[in-house]
């Protein structure tokens, strides 16, 4: 029973991983670009939630929405101010741009909020639910379920709506998309907005359940990258399966080996994966 408890807890967190990994995979799929600051977007979502709760009050729906909107705007602004200018530049510039951005965001947060761990004040989401002997803290449960729904929503947005097909058209063939009247620049900015927005949302959801500090972004960024590698670059369903898997593996390694090893096991798994299937578990050969 304890083992089941551990796995379910891991899966709930894994659903949140899936949500923010989807953003990373979207940008990779459209622009062949890895955003090194993606984990920092998650971290900023957490602080955005904290600021909204402290200043405005309100429930989880309000601060989650606020975090999503703020990060959406930030993502689009970063696209126009920075990414657009380096996309066609040398590889070094592409990698350094978001890498430098990650440092700026992470350590500005350090400077403003200090390195201490914080958590959200008690919200409406508290207590524990008992389902068939399984004890589920309500915040974790809510975050996991919401993340699952939102990841599915993002997938539907990409595959079932007009905007989604325009995004995919740009990913498929930029020039051809331009010929049919799609403006790739706008679509790419939208992709950055969606990616950052979903990361911010994921951050706000996690903030309800876990304490955090400015340095969590680095770990989340790596987790997202490994999730995307596992799930195959450019695939939202792949990110979902892989996110759930990473969450479960982390929870089990923390349970069996000790909490320090939860990231170690995932990173080691990643290195093993590089050797065995560099194109990802569900990726194309």
């Amino acid at each position: 029973m304890t083992l089941l408890q551990v796995v379910v807890g891991g899966l709930l967190l894994g659903a949140v991983y899936a949500l923010f990994a989807s953003g990373l995979t979207l940008i990779w799929g459209m622009m062949n670009f890895i955003n090194f600051a993606h984990g920092e977007f998650v971290m900023l979502g957490m602080y955005a939630a904290l600021l909204v709760v402290t200043w405005l009050g309100g429930g989880p729906a309000l601060f989650a929405l606020a975090a999503a909107l703020v990060l959406f705007a930030l993502g689009a602004a970063i696209y126009f101010g920075l990414i657009r200018h380096v996309l066609r530049g040398p590889m070094l510039a592409q990698i350094l741009s978001t890498f430098g951005l990650a440092l700026v965001l992470r350590y500005t947060a350090f400077w403003i909020f200090s390195a201490n761990f914080v958590s959200l004040p008690q919200t409406a989401l508290s207590g524990t639910l008992s389902i068939g002997g399984l004890l589920l803290p309500v915040p974790q449960l809510a975050a996991g379920v919401a993340a699952l729904a939102l990841t599915a929503g993002l997938h539907l947005l990409l595959t079932r709506t007009a905007v989604g097909s325009q995004l995919l058209a740009v990913a498929e063939d930029r020039e051809a998309a331009m010929l049919v009247g799609i403006r790739p620049d706008r679509m790419q900015a939208l992709a950055w907005g969606l990616a950052a927005g979903s990361a911010g949302l994921a951050g706000a959801l996690m903030a309800t359940a876990y304490p955090w500090s400015p340095s969590v972004g680095a770990t989340f960024g790596l987790t997202a990258f490994i999730t995307v590698t596992l799930g195959g670059f450019g695939s939202v369903p792949g990110a979902l399966y892989a996110g759930l898997m990473v969450g479960a593996i982390q929870a089990l390694s923390a349970y069996w080996l000790g909490p320090i090893y939860k990231d170690v096991v995932v990173y080691a798994l990643f290195v093993a994966l590089l050797w065995l299937r560099p194109q990802g578990l569900m990726g194309r050969a």
């Binding site: 890895i34 070094l92 350094l96 430098g100 700026v104 990258f225």
Partner: protein, 325 residues
């Protein structure tokens, strides 16, 4: 003709200044800055071979630096050997590590390699921090007082300055020699266009692996030098993100892929960082990193070729302007 003349005079002057600096440095503080500049130039030059010339951007080079830093103190702690004896071991281990990471990832796109380097560097940092044999989170300590000259433990920093200067000269000479040889041309070709390079018979993966191995071993050497000077290392000072970041930023600021770019970057960044730290009250507040990140973003956005490229463009721009006038 005259510009060549000037260049030679300038180079002679620069060498003389580097040689005479410890005599002119009025206090240990300034001497320490000099030593730190040289060390940063060595590690950034080592990074530059892979990241600058071969175009494979590692942002986890701290793993090689850390290996180089740990091995000398490990052989001292375990067996009482002089730390120096750990230097070749560290370089060898770094090459092995490079092969382990490079063989699978260098087949993939550049972004992928970069992200993989961070993941592996983090993995190693965390593992070292939990491994009792290598001092876990506390780290390792070198000999407090020298048992003989072979311990290379000096109270004054002047000997370190000249040792580091000699190593820097060696690394630059090696890089220069590489530039003129087939491997150097192949590295630049792979960076400029892998498919085209392969169509001309360049074994791109082997070329990238060679660059990585050379870069990793020299980075480990830089780590060893660092630890000879400080006599102490822990997971963060050896494998931490700052170590990796500093190599990239120093090289990129001066000019990645140029011979002297890393030295120029170190000459600017290290003193600037030192002054910034004394103004902003130490590196603990994180503002140093904000500054680093900001510089990286600005270089990437406006001048990915670094200061050398900026200078080259300005030199080209001037005669055209005068002709038009």
């Amino acid at each position: 003709m005259s510009s060549d003349h000037w260049r030679r005079a300038g180079a002679a002057l620069a060498v003389a200044a580097l040689l005479a600096y410890p005599l002119a440095a009025s206090s240990p503080y300034y001497l320490d800055i000099g030593v730190t500049v040289l060390l940063a130039a060595i590690s950034a030059s080592a990074w530059n071979i892979l990241g600058g010339f071969a175009g494979q951007v590692s942002v986890g080079h701290g793993m090689f630096f850390g290996v180089g830093a740990y091995l000398p103190l490990l052989v001292y702690t375990l067996w009482g050997w002089p730390p120096m004896a750990g230097i070749p071991l560290g370089m060898l281990l770094a090459v092995g590590l490079a092969a382990l990471i490079g063989a699978p990832t260098l087949r993939l796109t550049g972004h992928y390699f970069s992200m993989a380097t961070i993941a592996v560097a983090e993995l190693i940092r965390i593992l070292v921090g939990t491994w009792g044999l290598v001092g876990a989170a506390i780290g390792l300590q070198g000999p407090a007082t020298a048992r003989g000259w072979w311990d290379l433990t000096f109270r004054d920093e002047t000997p370190y300055y000249y040792i580091f200067l000699g190593v820097l000269a060696g690394v630059l000479a090696l890089t220069h020699a590489l530039q003129g040889r087939r491997l150097g041309y192949y590295m630049r070709a792979v960076k400029a266009g892998e498919a085209a390079a392969r169509s001309l018979g360049v074994a791109s993966r082997r070329t990238k692996l060679a660059a990585l191995a050379l870069s990793a071993s020299l980075t480990a050497l830089a780590g060893s030098l660092y630890v000879l000077k400080t006599g102490f290392v822990d997971p963060d000072s050896g494998f931490g993100i700052l170590v990796s970041v500093q190599m990239v930023i120093v090289a990129a600021l001066g000019g990645a892929g140029t011979l002297y770019g890393p030295l120029v970057g170190a000459l600017i960044l290290i003193p600037a960082q030192s002054w910034a730290n004394s103004w902003l009250g130490g590196g603990g507040s994180g503002l140093t990193f904000v500054l680093y990140g900001g510089i990286i973003v600005l270089v990437a956005r406006f001048e990915p070729g670094g200061l050398f490229e900026l200078r080259r463009r300005m030199l080209r721009w001037r005669p055209e302007r005068s002709r038009a006038a």
